[in-house]
C-alpha cells in the first residue's frame, strides 16, 4: 500500500518536473500511437519535412499517370474537359487568360507530392504507394519540361528540384497596398458624374434558370413575366391538379415488366453503392459521358460502345473482340477493374464485397433495356 502510494507520488513528481509549464489541464484524450501518427500525418512540407523514403522515374510515372490520372488530366497533363490542366502555361500569368499549372504557377514541389498522395486519384484517393507518387511527380515535372525523361525523383534529391514559379508569390500585402486607399471618409452625396451601365449579366446569359419570388408569395417560374403572373386565371391554376389526378397509370411496356422483376431493394442498394462511381459515370435520364462513359444500357451490351467516348486502347480491343457485359463479366470487372481489363484507364480500385457488386449490377440493369 505504502509502496504503491510512493510510486504514484514519484510518478506525479516526475511528470511535474518534465513539463511544468504545459501540464494537461483536463487529462482527456489518449496518447497517439506511432503507427497512428504514421498513418495520418502524411503532410509533406516545402523543406522536405515528411518526405517518405522512396523513388520513382519518369518512365514508371508515365505508366502510373495513364492508369490513374490521364482520364481527367489528359495523357500529357494537358487537362480534359473542365478538369485541371497540370502542364504548360509557362509565361501566361500576365495574360488575359492565365493558365495556372504545376509548371507555370505552383511554387513548391512538395505540394505536388502531398496532394497527389493524399487526395488523388479523385474517387479513389490514397491508393498510390510512395514510389508511385514519386514516379507520378517525376512525370508531372517531365510533362512541364522541368526534368528530362531519364530523371529519377527520390527523397534524396527532392528538394534540389527548382520550380519555375518559386519566386512568384508575395505574402498578403493588403494592409500596405489597399488599406491606405480604402480607409477613408466615405462620400455621401454628389460623388461623381451620373453613372452609365457598362455591362449586363443578361447579355452573357450564363445564369441557370431560376424562379422569382414576389412579395405576396407568388413564385414566377423561369421565363414567366410579371404580366403573365398577374393575368393568370384561377381556372388554369386548378386545372393541372385535376389532370394529374385523372391521368391513368401508363400501360407498362414489355421491358418495364422485365425491369420490375429486379429486386427493388437490390436496385436501391445499388443506387446507393453507385455513389462511388458518380464522380466519373452518369446514368439515367440525360446521362452524358464525362470522365467515364454514360452507363445507360450497359448491361447486355458489347463493351466500349458509348458514342463519343474516347476509350483506352485496352477497352477498344475488348470492343473489337465483341466482349459482352454479362452479369458475370461485370461482376469480375467491378471486383478488380485493372486485372480484368489490364491497361484500362478507370482509376478505381474495385468493389470487394460480392453483394455490393450484385446490387450495382441490379442498379445498372434497371437502367438497361
Amino acid at each position: 500500500m505504502s509502496k504503491c502510494r510512493n510510486l504514484i507520488a514519484t510518478t506525479a513528481l516526475a511528470t511535474l518536473l518534465a513539463a511544468p509549464a504545459f501540464a494537461q489541464e483536463f487529462g482527456l484524450g489518449r496518447a497517439a500511437l506511432p503507427e497512428e501518427i504514421e498513418a495520418w500525418d502524411v503532410a509533406v512540407l516545402p523543406d522536405g519535412t515528411g518526405l517518405p523514403e522512396g523513388s520513382g522515374d519518369v518512365y514508371d510515372g508515365e505508366e502510373a499517370w495513364i492508369n490513374n490520372c490521364a482520364a481527367c488530366h489528359g495523357d500529357f497533363a494537358e487537362g480534359a474537359g473542365a478538369w485541371p490542366v497540370i502542364a504548360g502555361g509557362e509565361g501566361t500569368l500576365t495574360n488575359a487568360r492565365p493558365v495556372k499549372t504545376v509548371g507555370s504557377y505552383w511554387p513548391y514541389l512538395s505540394t505536388v507530392f502531398d496532394y497527389v498522395h493524399r487526395s488523388m486519384p479523385f474517387g479513389a484517393a490514397q491508393i498510390l504507394t510512395y514510389d508511385e507518387t514519386y514516379a507520378i511527380t517525376a512525370y508531372i515535372l517531365y510533362s512541364n519540361g522541368i526534368v528530362d525523361y531519364d530523371f529519377v525523383l527520390s527523397n534524396e534529391n527532392f528538394t534540389e528540384v527548382s520550380m519555375p514559379n518559386a519566386d512568384g508569390f508575395i505574402v498578403d500585402d493588403r494592409m500596405e497596398s489597399e488599406f491606405p486607399l480604402f480607409v477613408t471618409e466615405a462620400c455621401m452625396s454628389d460623388c461623381g458624374d451620373p453613372v452609365e451601365i457598362t455591362k449586363r449579366a443578361s447579355d452573357i446569359a450564363v445564369t441557370p434558370p431560376f424562379p422569382r419570388l414576389l412579395l405576396d408569395g407568388t413564385v414566377l417560374e423561369p421565363g414567366e413575366t410579371l404580366e403573365e403572373a398577374s393575368l393568370q386565371d384561377t381556372a388554369t391554376d386548378a386545372a393541372p391538379v385535376e389532370e394529374a389526378a385523372a391521368e391513368p397509370a401508363a400501360e407498362p411496356a414489355a421491358e418495364e415488366v422485365e425491369v420490375a422483376s429486379l429486386d427493388p431493394a437490390m436496385v436501391e442498394a445499388g443506387e446507393s453503392a453507385f455513389r462511388q462511381c458518380r464522380s466519373c459515370h452518369q446514368i439515367g435520364d440525360g446521362a452524358r459521358s464525362g470522365v467515364g462513359p454514360a452507363l445507360n444500357g450497359v448491361v447486355g451490351s458489347v463493351a466500349g460502345q458509348v458514342d463519343g467516348f474516347r476509350y483506352s486502347p485496352a477497352f477498344a480491343e475488348k470492343a473489337d473482340e465483341g466482349m459482352v457485359w454479362t452479369d458475370e463479366a461485370l461482376d469480375a470487372f467491378l471486383e478488380n477493374p485493372r486485372d480484368y481489363i489490364s491497361g484500362n484507364r478507370m482509376a478505381f480500385r474495385g468493389v470487394r464485397d460480392a453483394d455490393e457488386r450484385a446490387a450495382l449490377i441490379a442498379y445498372l440493369t434497371s437502367h438497361s433495356d
Binding site: F179, T198, R200, T207, P211, S230
Partner: protein, 429 residues
C-alpha cells in the same frame, strides 16, 4: 396529397388572393398608388367566407417529427451552377440569400463546398489527432470533446471565390449566385486553443495544419496566433448537430477567414514550424496580380455587402410607394459599423439601419425603408467596418489587383431595377 389538400382552399373558394387584388385595382406593376393605400370594391372572400382551414382541423403533432419548410417555400433552396466545375462532387452551391432575412442561415440551405463529396461519419467513428511539435501527441474521441469547456460564437463562412465570377464584369443574375457562397451560423464547440494546450505546443510550433477525414483530406495551414485566438472545434450549429454537408460531427470555425480554412470532418491538427503550403493555399485561393506575382495567405475576408432584396430573383413587383430594401454586410476584420445604400449607382448615398446586433465577423442585416417613385434605380450597398475600411468599387480593386485576381472580390454590387421592379446584375461606369 399534401399539396392538393393545402391548395384546396384557394381553388375551391373560386377566388384567389390574386383575383381579389386585381378586383381591388392593385394589379402588379407600376400603378402609382402612393402612400394612401388601396380601397376594395368587393369584400375579400378570404375574409367573408369561412375557409376550410378555419373550419376543419390541420395536421397533428405526430405528423412531422422533424419539419421541413412548408411547401410554398420549396423554391428557397441551394442552387448549383453546373458550368462552374467539372463535377458536382468537387463543387459548390449557393445559399438563397435573396429569400432569407435576419442573419442566421438555416443549415439546410446554407451553401456547400466539397472537394470529394460530403461524407457520412458517425460520432462513434470520429477521431481527432493533435500531433507534430507537441509534448503529447493526442487522440480525442467525440465523447472527449463533449467533456471539454465549450464556447459559442456566431460567424460567417465565406468562400474566397464568392463573387469571383463577377471580377471580370457582371455575369450571374441573382444575389444567390453573385454572393451566395456565404452562410452565418451560431456555433458551439471547444476552442482549438484548449486542445492545443492539452497536447502542449512546443516553442518552435508556429503553424497548425488542419485537415479533414474526407477523401480530399483538404488541408490548410493556420498561424499559431490565430489557432490560439478564436478558432473553434465546433459540433453544434444553429442549436443542433452539424448537418452532414457542414462537416458532421465536427468542423473547424476560423472566424473572419476564408471558408476553405474551415475544414469539415476535422481529422488532424498537426503542429509545424512552417506552413505546409498545401494545394489549396498555393495553386488555389491565391490572388494573381497584374505583374504576374500572386498574393498568398490572403486569409481575412474584407468588408463587403450586398442588397438581397430587391434583386434579380426577388423583384420589386409591388410598384411605387413604400418598400423595404434589405441586405447583408460583413467583415472578416471585426464589426460592421455602417452600411450605406445608393439608388443612383453611387452618386448619392443614405445610411441604412442596422437591424439587430452587429457582431464581429458575423453577418449583419441592414434595412432601408424607402418610398419608391417608380423610376428605375441602380441599387448599391457599401459596408464600413470598425477598422474604418470602406468597401471599395470593383474598379478600385481592379486598379490595385489587375484583372486576373478573381478570389477575394469584395467590390460593390449594382442591381439595376427597372420601372416594373425587375432587377438585373449590371456593372456601372
Amino acid at each position: 396529397m399534401t399539396d392538393q389538400s393545402n391548395d384546396a382552399p384557394r381553388k375551391a373558394g373560386g377566388a384567389s388572393r390574386r383575383d381579389f387584388l386585381r378586383t381591388a385595382g392593385l394589379a402588379a406593376g407600376g400603378a402609382a398608388l402612393g402612400a394612401t393605400g388601396a380601397r376594395a370594391n368587393t369584400p375579400d372572400p378570404l375574409i367573408t367566407e369561412v375557409q376550410p382551414y378555419a373550419s376543419f382541423t390541420g395536421e397533428g403533432v405526430d405528423a412531422t417529427p422533424y419539419g421541413m419548410p412548408i411547401h410554398y417555400e420549396e423554391h428557397v433552396v441551394r442552387r448549383n451552377v453546373e458550368w462552374l466545375t467539372a463535377d458536382p462532387i468537387s463543387s459548390i452551391n449557393f445559399t438563397p440569400i435573396h429569400a432569407l432575412e435576419g442573419t442566421i442561415t438555416p443549415q439546410g440551405c446554407a451553401f456547400e463546398r466539397h472537394h470529394s463529396g460530403a461524407i457520412e461519419m458517425s460520432k462513434q467513428d470520429y477521431r481527432l489527432m493533435i500531433n507534430g511539435l507537441v509534448d503529447r501527441p493526442l487522440v480525442f474521441t467525440f465523447a472527449d470533446l463533449m467533456r471539454l469547456p465549450r464556447e459559442s460564437m456566431v460567424a460567417f463562412c465565406e468562400c474566397a471565390a464568392n463573387s469571383g465570377m463577377e471580377w471580370g464584369g457582371a455575369q450571374l443574375n441573382g444575389a444567390q449566385f453573385t454572393h451566395g457562397m456565404i452562410h452565418n451560423m451560431e456555433y458551439i464547440g471547444v476552442p482549438l486553443r484548449v486542445l492545443l494546450e492539452e497536447a502542449g505546443v512546443q516553442p518552435e510550433g508556429k503553424w497548425v495544419f488542419v485537415e479533414g477525414h474526407d477523401a480530399s483530406s483538404n488541408g490548410r495551414s493556420i498561424p499559431m496566433e490565430k489557432a490560439m485566438d478564436d478558432c473553434l472545434v465546433a459540433f453544434y450549429a444553429n442549436g443542433e448537430a452539424l448537418r452532414m454537408e457542414h462537416g458532421y460531427p465536427v468542423r473547424l470555425v476560423v472566424p473572419g477567414w476564408e471558408g476553405n480554412m474551415w475544414v469539415k470532418w476535422l481529422r488532424r491538427v498537426g503542429v509545424y514550424d512552417q506552413a505546409v503550403e498545401a494545394r489549396e493555399e498555393t495553386s488555389k485561393y491565391t490572388d494573381l496580380l497584374a505583374n504576374g506575382k500572386a498574393r498568398k495567405w490572403t486569409w481575412e475576408m474584407d468588408a463587403k455587402s450586398v442588397i438581397t432584396a430587391p434583386s434579380p430573383q426577388a423583384p420589386a413587383s409591388h410598384g411605387a410607394g413604400p418598400m423595404v430594401i434589405t441586405g447583408l454586410a460583413w467583415s472578416g476584420r471585426g464589426r460592421i459599423t455602417r452600411v450605406d445604400v445608393s439608388m443612383d449607382g453611387g452618386a448619392n448615398w443614405v445610411e441604412a439601419r442596422i437591424s439587430g446586433d452587429a457582431k464581429p465577423m458575423a453577418l449583419t442585416r441592414f434595412h432601408v425603408d424607402h418610398v419608391w417613385d417608380g423610376k428605375p434605380m441602380m441599387l448599391q450597398a457599401r459596408a464600413v467596418d470598425e477598422t474604418g475600411y470602406v468597401q471599395p468599387t470593383k474598379d478600385q480593386l481592379r486598379a490595385v489587383r489587375g484583372l486576373n485576381s478573381i478570389y477575394h472580390n469584395n467590390g460593390i454590387q449594382t442591381w439595376y431595377v427597372n420601372e416594373n421592379g425587375e432587377a438585373e446584375n449590371v456593372e456601372v461606369s
